[in-house]
């Protein structure tokens, strides 16, 4: 992380007083005890006590706070609910945390235009709750959806188990209002589709709080599918499960959800929730079809046939809503289930080309052995997004470090086979130092210059995403040499 500026820290009281002029009363938190809850996010291994916590409640306050921070060169870490698994909201000792929790209202439900306008602090589930009485829902459903906020979803481009069919956050956001570090309020998109000019809405989504602070979000909502049914399929090997997934997609079927678990994950989940998962299989697949009843009933039959062709050892089709939920109960409880068999676990998030799954799982087992740790795997099988859960005990000397080293090795393996470092959790601080396994310095410079266009002083969430911070003036330099060259080797017409 960037070296904290002792001068800024020394001015804490003075800065707090100035910010209280903008956000009065309890909107500025300076006491150490009250700052403590903000010291980390979902990536709890990393902790830093922020300089101050500021909780604005209007866009105008956000604009004035950001302008103040720019004028006084104070760093800003935006925060939603703090559920990031990559340390996206990790505070800085010399920076304020800008908490958006007070922006918690659904501003407009517009069924006729199939959209909801919400403040960023509304939870992901809160959007669905506001519209479900009319048979609608908001599609992206990260597993933290009870707690995580729509603003945080925009920052991280969150996914969930349904995103193969319904898209990530970026495919479901129609517009945002954002405030730049200069305090400028900018609106991108709205209730209409596609942007005018450069697609800055697309750039904002997934920018991990480095480009601006979102103060309003417009999302599209969908009519809820009338039917959902799931198939629970056990396989003798990860390879046959992987082949079955490929065959389902090749048959033209895009399931609403397609989740895979390996043997350690199956056992941990079954021991925890007792839903009747088969324990004699190496891999378990949950395939959920949703949509109109006629379609679901038709496709269930086809999935069943494909699974039988791919050496399925056991196969159950949900015959009731209760049974469908039971199939999911184990998968949804996979994280806490693993938490029961290990004092701590570390959730990794990489994506691979799905066909490389068997070798990645083999490689992962080899790496786990090397680091003397155990791994359980849950996997968004449809889109190749792996979530290895590394089991460790933070109280044992060196285990956290070994878990992190194993996580890094697993992500390197993902990149090696043609995949990427993160499918849905973001880079944050967690994967920052691995960025150079995917991108060379020129690639990263092009990304960082985009940051400079928004935030030339690098005050918004510094230390996240990019391994090395360059000054914008240095990045902006044009490294070309004038003077006419002949280009004898380029054909001209």
């Amino acid at each position: 992380m960037p070296e904290p500026d002792a001068g800024v820290i020394a001015r804490r009281a003075e800065i707090a007083a100035a910010l209280r002029e903008i956000v009065p009363g309890e909107g500025v938190i300076s006491e150490e005890d009250a700052r403590r809850p903000y010291e980390s996010d979902g990536l709890t291994a990393y902790r830093t006590l922020p300089l101050l916590v500021v909780l604005p409640s209007t866009t105008e306050q956000v604009a004035r706070v950001l302008r103040f921070c720019r004028d006084h060169k104070i760093k800003v870490v935006p925060r939603g609910a703090g559920t990031s698994l990559s340390g996206g909201a990790l505070p800085l000792a010399d920076g304020i945390v800008l908490g958006m929790a007070k922006f918690n209202r659904v501003l407009e439900v517009d069924f006729a235009n199939r959209c909801v306008v919400a403040q960023p602090g509304v939870t992901n589930l809160g959007v669905t709750l506001a519209v479900q009485h009319a048979g609608f829902y908001y599609a992206p459903d990260p597993s933290s959806q009870i707690a995580c906020t729509i603003g945080g979803n925009v920052a991280e481009n969150s996914g969930g188990v349904h995103c193969l069919k319904y898209g990530l956050t970026t495919n479901n956001v129609l517009g945002v209002e954002l405030v730049t570090i200069d305090g400028e309020i900018i609106r991108l998109g709205g209730k209409h589709l596609d942007s005018e000019g450069y697609d800055l809405l697309g750039v904002m989504v997934g920018s991990e709080g480095l480009l601006g602070v979102v103060t309003e979000v417009t999302v599209r909502i969908l009519p809820k599918p009338t039917t959902a049914r799931a198939v629970l399929i056990g396989f003798p090997s990860n390879e046959s499960a992987g082949n079955c997934v490929a065959a389902i997609i090749a048959a033209g079927i895009i399931p609403g959800g397609m989740e895979m678990m390996d043997k350690p994950a199956i056992h941990a989940a079954e021991d925890f929730v007792h839903v009747g998962y088969p324990l004699d299989v190496e891999a378990l697949l949950i395939v959920e079809l949703d949509g109109p009843k006629a379609e679901v009933d038709h496709l269930i039959g086809r999935v069943e046939a494909i699974a039988r062709q791919h050496r399925a050892m056991s196969l159950k089709v949900s015959e009731s809503e209760q049974e469908r939920l039971a199939f999911w109960a184990g998968r949804k409880a996979a994280f806490p289930a693993v938490g029961r068999i290990s004092p701590d676990y570390y959730c990794v998030d990489g994506t691979i080309p799905r066909k490389r799954l068997p070798e990645v799982l083999t490689g992962m087992a080899r790496l786990a052995e090397k680091h003397r740790l155990r791994v359980a795997n849950v996997f968004h099988a449809g889109d190749g997004n792996l979530h290895p859960l590394i089991l460790y005990d933070a109280n044992k000397e060196g285990e956290l470090e070994r878990a992190e080293a194993l996580g890094a090795d697993i992500l390197r393996l993902c990149v090696e086979v043609g995949g990427v470092l993160t499918g849905e959790h973001g880079v944050g601080v967690e994967k920052r130092d691995l960025m150079d396994t995917m991108f060379n310095p020129v690639d990263l410079d092009h990304q960082m210059r985009l940051k400079c266009a928004f935030d030339p002083e690098g005050l918004l969430n510094p230390g996240k995403v990019f391994p090395q911070l360059h000054r914008c003036a240095e990045l902006g330099r044009v490294h070309v040499h004038g003077g006419k060259l002949a280009f004898p080797d380029i054909p001209r017409f």
Partner: protein, 403 residues
């Protein structure tokens, strides 16, 4: 006009680097079918990227295709069709609309203009399917972003920025797109004789139902024949796609639910699919090339109001896609400024935006083609342009004057 045709990314980078050094503008061309779209480029050189052609990898089970940008889109669609897949955002062929031949547009050109057809409302636009790319920026540097997998949030989503940037930030040299299965069956319901208000009401009811509507368009009588040959009355079209038993069941249910709007006619399979290709290609406005064509994006419920504001002042023809949210508008060529003042005011009043899609080069050079932006957004867009292309040499002026 001098025309360069680099044969690989290294040569391209060298050329752009030279152009950046000397501040020499380059007009980037592959198929060239969309040169009439956007402002006329103010550049002394043409950069022909036709050497960057060919499909490099197609993996139907992984739902990805990697190709070079000058690959003809037709070639890609043929290859996808063999595996029963498609580009689900249904990009149209605007060649004939813009006075060019049909079937010649390139993959890169389509992506750079962020095309999307009627399925946009359900499946997104080109922007939603560009997974990653390699390019040479206006700095003359080769770089890449995104990846070759369908789910990826590593780094900024520069793919979104490239889609719809009209070649003004970087020259694409390789792209990876997400592909999806082609539906087994298509059914289109046609409601006859509705006015705009009733048509949007019918489309809204259909889109808000759980029947997974993948297209909803309304053609007033003046525009209908190019989409439904022989038809003379206004037609409202609603599309259902999927496995055959599903399409049949949903069509029957939806017909029943929409009975207040009249008895819907059913078009199945090819007859049900053909009208949507005509809509994506903007076929109703191909025949009268002298008319200026606008593309207006607004909230669906605002469609009829925007249309009324325009037709109240201009002799315009308008048809609707995207459930009422997309208006295609053809204005007589003799109208001052192509009706810009009225069209822009109507779009703006509805919170949307208007793009001048077809007009003479003279008009496209004189009035804004893309929706003018508020000062803070305009300044930000300018800084982004300069971060990729500091000397403003790539397609200068294509999107905005002096940019």
């Amino acid at each position: 006009m001098p025309r360069f045709r680099p044969k690989d990314a290294r040569e391209l980078a060298k050329l752009v680097s030279w152009a950046a050094g000397d501040g020499e503008g380059l007009e980037v061309i592959a198929g060239g079918t969309k040169r009439g779209l956007g402002r006329p480029v103010e550049a002394p050189h043409q950069l022909d990227i036709t050497a960057f052609a060919g499909i490099e990898a197609y993996e139907p089970e992984e739902l990805i295709l990697t190709a070079k940008p000058a690959t003809p889109l037709a070639e890609i669609e043929t290859m996808l069709g063999r595996a029963e897949q498609m580009l689900t955002f249904e990009p149209g062929d605007w060649g004939p609309l813009l006075g060019e031949a049909a079937g010649r547009q390139s993959l890169g050109g389509m992506l750079a203009c962020n095309l999307a057809g009627p399925r946009r409302i359900k499946q997104g636009a080109a922007r939603d399917h560009l997974l990653g790319f390699h390019a040479v920026s206006g700095r003359g540097e080769e770089f890449k972003a995104g990846g070759r997998v369908v789910k990826n949030v590593t780094g900024y989503d520069l793919s979104k920025l490239m889609a719809g940037s009209y070649g003004t930030l970087a020259v694409l040299t390789e792209v990876t797109v997400k592909v999806l299965p082609r539906p087994e069956a298509t059914g289109t319901l046609v409601l006859w004789g509705l006015d705009e208000q009733r048509a949007v009401a019918a489309m809204t009811q259909a889109l808000n139902s759980p029947h997974e509507v993948s297209g909803a368009a309304h053609l007033p009588s003046a525009s209908v024949a190019a989409v439904l040959p022989g038809a003379g009355r206004a037609a409202t079209l609603i599309r259902l796609e999927g496995p055959r038993p599903s399409v049949e069941a949903r069509a029957a249910a939806l017909r029943q639910e929409l009975r207040d709007f009249g008895t819907a006619e059913q078009l199945l399979d090819e007859a049900g699919a053909r009208p949507w290709r005509a809509l994506a290609d903007v076929s109703p406005f191909v025949a009268e090339p002298e008319r200026v064509v606008w593309r207006i994006s607004v909230a669906p419920q605002s469609g009829p109001t925007v249309a009324a504001a325009i037709t109240g002042a201009l002799d315009a023809r308008i048809f609707f896609d995207w459930g009422g949210g997309l208006l295609w508008c053809a204005v007589p060529g003799a109208e001052a400024e192509g009706g810009s003042t009225i069209v822009r005011a109507a779009a703006k009043a509805a919170g949307g935006h208007a793009t001048l899609v077809r007009a003479s080069a003279e008009l496209r050079g004189r009035i804004p083609v893309f929706e003018p932006q508020p000062p803070a957004l305009e300044a930000l867009s300018r800084r982004i342009k300069e971060s990729f292309d500091p000397r403003r040499i790539l397609n200068p002026g294509r999107m905005y004057r002096d940019l």
